[in-house]
């Protein structure tokens, strides 16, 4: 169910939400967090679809904010979505204009679910310093996605310089399955020393840089990035005394990978690409600061040549 509220106020929106809950006989408790989405008109539907999917695991109130700075009156249009149109929660879409766009924090404060964590997610251009953004400052965790901005390297450089423990970029979240696999590969004998590591991937792929930084930090050995490949992160080779242990995707954009090791048969396995929805769900599952990510940015990053 979709309700349009043109030229409205936050008080009217709250009242309308309460009335809808009463009418539909559902309670608004049960929501485990409020998700603030900062986005633009052209990506709004995509954002809501992803948030609705993630809300099935973590019922939340979604507040999508689409500022229109160019018009100069301070005006608010809103839209409410319930039930089938809103996953397991409710969605509020806010279109503030003019001066209102400078006060996004006080715009959403009356609409936050009481007493539960607030998460902010930027879909589209990445702010230079998420913790100083009005929506970021009131959030307990801040999610950006530099990979999908116009200049990923520049966007990520700014995020790294301004990093705060509550910030996470989804380039890191995309690596979780890879990292788990690499950990499990090193769980197996022979435990021979690793001399060097090569990470293979394409130019401009942030996950490649982050994975290399993580490996350099944890293994304390030289890690080089080989950027001859296409298609993002392609593989990792551990150079050990007794030969190379490697995991590689079978081809660019393939969802298959193969593990090779001296004296063992090749092992094939699935490597499904992670959807944005899965990444967002992972962030919702854990709201604590990610210390490992912090160390990778602060220390690991400088151990690797990123050219």
């Amino acid at each position: 169910m979709i309700v349009d509220l043109p030229g409205t106020t936050t008080a009217q929106i709250s009242q309308r939400i309460d009335a809808m809950h009463e009418e539909r006989g559902e309670a608004a408790q049960g929501r485990v967090l409020t998700l603030l989405i900062a986005t633009t008109d052209n990506r709004l539907e995509e954002a809501l679809e992803i948030a609705n999917g993630a809300s099935r695991e973590h019922p939340c109130r979604v507040i999508a904010v689409v500022p229109h700075e160019d018009s100069d009156d301070g005006h608010l249009d809103a839209q409410l979505r319930f039930g089938a149109d809103a996953g397991a929660g409710e969605c509020i879409v806010l279109h503030p204009t003019g001066a209102l766009t400078q006060h996004l924090d006080t715009l959403v404060i009356p609409l936050l679910v009481p007493d539960v964590p607030v998460m902010a997610w930027w879909l589209g251009e990445v702010p230079e310093n998420p913790s100083l953004e009005p929506l970021g400052a009131i959030a307990r965790s801040r999610i950006t996605d530099a990979t999908h901005s116009a200049d990923p390297a520049a966007a990520f450089a700014a995020l790294r310089a301004n990093w705060n423990e509550r910030d996470t970029d989804l380039s890191w979240t995309r690596l979780t399955i890879w990292r788990a696999l690499l950990v499990s590969m090193l769980d197996q004998p022979p435990y021979t020393a690793i001399r060097e590591v090569t990470v293979q991937g394409s130019h401009g792929s942030l996950p490649v840089d982050l994975l290399a930084s993580w490996l350099a930090l944890k293994l304390q050995v030289p890690v080089t990035i080989d950027r001859d490949a296409e298609g993002g992160l392609m593989g990792v080779v551990f150079h050990r005394e007794d030969g190379d242990l490697s995991i590689r995707r079978t081809g660019p954009f393939d969802e298959q990978a193969v593990i090779e090791q001296p004296g063992q048969m090749d092992q094939h396995l699935s490597m499904p690409k992670r959807s944005l929805e899965e990444c967002l769900s992972e962030e919702m599952r854990r709201l604590e600061p990610d210390v490992v990510y912090g160390e990778v940015l602060a220390e690991g990053w400088n151990l690797v040549n990123h050219d």
Binding site: L182, H268, L269, D290
Partner: protein, 507 residues
């Protein structure tokens, strides 16, 4: 093992744990449990990326199947039941490691073949000598399968590799048989590699219960005989025995459900706070509280049993137990059982625990209700509180996992009147949809070698010590009291609580 993996970091909370290389051998792979639960769970684990590249699945059964027939059978079961979408590539990788070994349990040559098959998999799939054996077979077959595994050298592992065995409940049918079963299994496998599984009791449930009791301050201070009047633990099923007559008749619901499931729930509800949540510390507390359980002196007054008769369960017509296919028409097997147990500790002195379970009851529900004493003084007119019941905390185990608080609240209006209301929290709303199915969790725990939260030998034996005298007493009685299908059990059970001045909750 002494090896420290430099990539592992306990602060790295994102990383899911992936099982190491291994094979899973399922005995009784053509059975219902395997088709409906185990095989789909294995696929779901694979598609979530939690199985290692070196994974193999071996079926052992009586059918004249080739490996291809087995793969086709697994595919059908996965397509029907798996909760993650079917992906050709994922399944293909899994299928490359599937083998079928044909044989009877008493056929030494078949186990020879099994032994060859797994060592071939060690070579081809890199399973590295790690093997888990899932006994999805009747308990009567445990001894022979264990023996054969030992004789063919499968039960013992080389250095650095592991062997594990998974046994489903029931763990025997009385103390003596449970001991015998333990003895047989212990001869072959060491105690740490035996995983006893009670699929009613998912790890999620246990952990939810522990979190509710020990992560909060508001419940623990009143969790004792100063405030609690009594506790009711219910596990009700709406279905009859279905096709399980062969197993169920002569065993009865008390052995099937009270012995393991309800007594485990009782232990988790009543135990003291463990010093840590490690399997050992948890086990220590459960054993303490189970060993403090006291049976009523007069079993005729404080136990009840029943047998369902024909009727309508909800909107569905149901035959009586004695008319079920495969049931002896003179059977005295109970399909409903209720018992009162007391716990001799300072915390619970004088607080009875009522356990009940039955088939063909009003609806399917499992819950723990902690019912509190009435307020010692009510500063209201008598008439204001005539509708006020006892406060309660109800832990709903299934379906719709969650917690309900029941307390009095003023009825809106000018008159002062207090009535019971419910306040609800539902895990179903908040955390479930994508939460892993119990069997996935369970298989993964075994493959990872996570110490299980499942009952140990000692707990199993203590539970039988509690139930055996009741079973012996019931064996001297005749026919259990009949109750109409779809009701909440026999009159006897209501009378049993009425004697104590209490009544059963309606779940």
């Amino acid at each position: 093992m002494g090896h420290h993996n430099p990539l592992r970091d306990s602060r790295d909370l994102r990383l899911p744990r992936i099982a190491g290389p291994c094979s899973l051998v399922i005995f009784g792979v053509t059975g219902d449990l395997s088709r409906k639960k185990l095989l789909p769970a294995v696929y779901d684990l694979a598609s979530r990326g939690l199985l290692p590249a070196g994974f193999a699945l071996v079926g052992f059964g009586r059918r004249e199947w080739s490996d291809e027939d087995f793969v086709a059978y697994v595919e059908r079961s996965v397509r029907e039941r798996a909760r993650t979408p079917f992906d050709e590539d994922t399944f293909r990788h899994l299928a490359e490691g599937m083998r079928f070994v044909r044989g009877e349990f008493d056929d030494a040559a078949a186990f020879e073949q099994l032994s060859k098959t797994v060592s071939e998999l060690d070579r081809l799939r890199g399973t590295r000598g790690n093997h888990a054996f899932y006994m999805s077979v009747p308990p009567s077959a445990f001894p022979i399968v264990s023996r054969q595994l030992a004789d063919s050298g499968l039960a013992k592992s080389d250095k650095g590799a592991w062997r594990r065995v998974i046994i489903e409940k029931p763990f025997g049918h009385d103390l003596q048989s449970a001991r015998e079963l333990n003895r047989v299994v212990a001869e072959v496998f060491d105690p740490d590699s035996v995983f006893r599984i009670d699929h009613y009791l998912g790890k999620e449930t246990v952990q939810n219960l522990l979190a509710l009791r020990f992560a909060n301050t508001m419940f623990e201070p009143i969790w004792n005989s100063n405030y609690v009047d009594h506790v009711q633990i219910t596990m009700a099923e709406d279905i009859g025995i279905g096709s399980r007559a062969g197993y169920f008749d002569g065993i009865g619901i008390a052995r099937d459900v009270i012995q393991n499931h309800l007594l485990q729930l009782l232990a988790l509800t009543a135990m003291e706070e463990p010093v840590s949540f490690s399997a050992d510390d948890l086990r220590a507390e459960k054993i303490k509280v189970l060993s403090a359980v006291r049976l009523p002196e007069d079993l005729s007054l404080h136990t009840a049993r029943g047998q369902y008769s024909a009727g309508w369960q909800g909107s569905e017509q149901a035959v009586g137990y004695l008319q079920e296919q495969g049931v002896n028409p003179d059977s005295t097997t109970e399909t409903y059982a209720a018992v009162r147990l007391d716990i001799d500790t300072r915390r619970w002195a004088g607080v009875p625990f009522y356990l009940r379970t039955g088939k063909r009851l009003g609806k399917r529900v499992t819950e723990i209700a902690v019912v509190f004493k009435r307020a010692p003084h009510l500063p209201f007119e008598q008439t204001s509180t005539s509708e006020l019941g006892e406060n309660a905390i109800v832990i709903r185990v299934q379906p719709d996992e969650g917690v309900t608080l029941r307390f009095g609240s003023k009825v809106p209006g000018t008159a002062m009147e207090v009535r019971d209301v419910n306040m609800d929290f539902s895990y179903g709303n908040s955390f479930t949809e994508a939460s892993p199915e119990a069997y996935e969790r369970l298989i993964l725990d075994v493959l990872l070698g996570e110490p299980p939260l499942f009952p140990t030998t000692k707990e199993v034996e203590l539970s039988w010590q509690i139930l055996d005298p009741i079973e012996q007493y019931w064996a001297t009685l005749g026919q259990p009291q009949a109750y109409r299908a779809g009701t909440w059990g026999p009159k006897e059970a209501d009378e049993m609580l009425a004697r104590d001045g209490r009544c059963w909750r309606m779940p």
